[in-house]
Amino acid sequence: MSGEGPTERDWAVRTSIYESFATTGRAPAIGALAARHGVTEHSVQGSLERLFEAHEIAPLPGGGGVWMANPFSSVPTDFVVETTEMSCWANCAWDALGVPAIIGGDARIRMHCAQSGDPLELAVEAGALKGDEGVIHLVTPIRDAWVDIGFT
C-alpha cells in the first residue's frame, strides 16, 4: 500500500473506466487504457491499485484489469441491466438499481431471488421504479463494505 491517494492521472483513468462501462457495458482493457492515456500498462496497474486503495474500483485478481467500478461489473453476474444504449452486469441488487441511477434514463433490470430462485424484473421509466416486489437483504455493515468487496 503506497499510502498516497489517487493522482490526477489515476482519476483520469477512473473516468475512462466509467465512460467505457456507461457506453458499452464493458470495462476497458488494460492496453486500451494505457494507449488512451499515453502510459505503460504497468502504469495503469499502478493507477488501479491506488484507485482500489481509495475504494473507487476493484481490480481483477492477478492483475487482469478491472473487476468492479460500482455499480458495474466486468464479469457476468445474476444482475443484468439493459439501458437504451447497452447491456451490462451489476455487482448486486444495490448496484443493479445503481446503473440507471448513475447513467440516467430508462432501464430494465433482471435478477433472481436468492431464496426461491424466482426471476425478478424491474424497470425504470421516466425516473420511476416499477416491477416486482421484494426486499434486498444486505449482510455486511456499511463500514466493512470494502473489507471484502467481492463478498459484500
Partner: protein
C-alpha cells in the same frame, strides 16, 4: 428470507425494499460519472445515508 438466513448461516443485516433502495441510489451515485469526481468524504456519505433514513448501527461509518 428467514429460511435463506438459516440455510446460509448469515446474520440478519439490513433489509430494504426496492423503492427504498431506489431512493438511496439517486444521491449515492450522483456525480460518479463525472470527470470531476474525486471521491466523497465519510461525512458526506453518512449524510446521504441519513438523508434516506438509514440511521441504524448497520449504516454507521464510524
Amino acid at each position: 428470507m428467514e429460511a435463506w438466513l438459516g440455510e446460509t448461516g448469515h446474520p440478519q443485516g439490513a433489509v430494504l425494499t426496492f423503492p427504498r433502495m431506489w431512493a438511496l441510489v439517486q444521491p449515492w451515485y450522483a456525480g460518479r460519472l463525472s470527470g470531476d469526481w474525486r471521491g466523497r468524504s465519510r461525512a458526506k456519505v453518512q449524510a446521504i445515508l441519513d438523508g434516506v433514513g438509514l440511521t441504524g448501527s448497520f449504516w454507521r461509518l464510524d
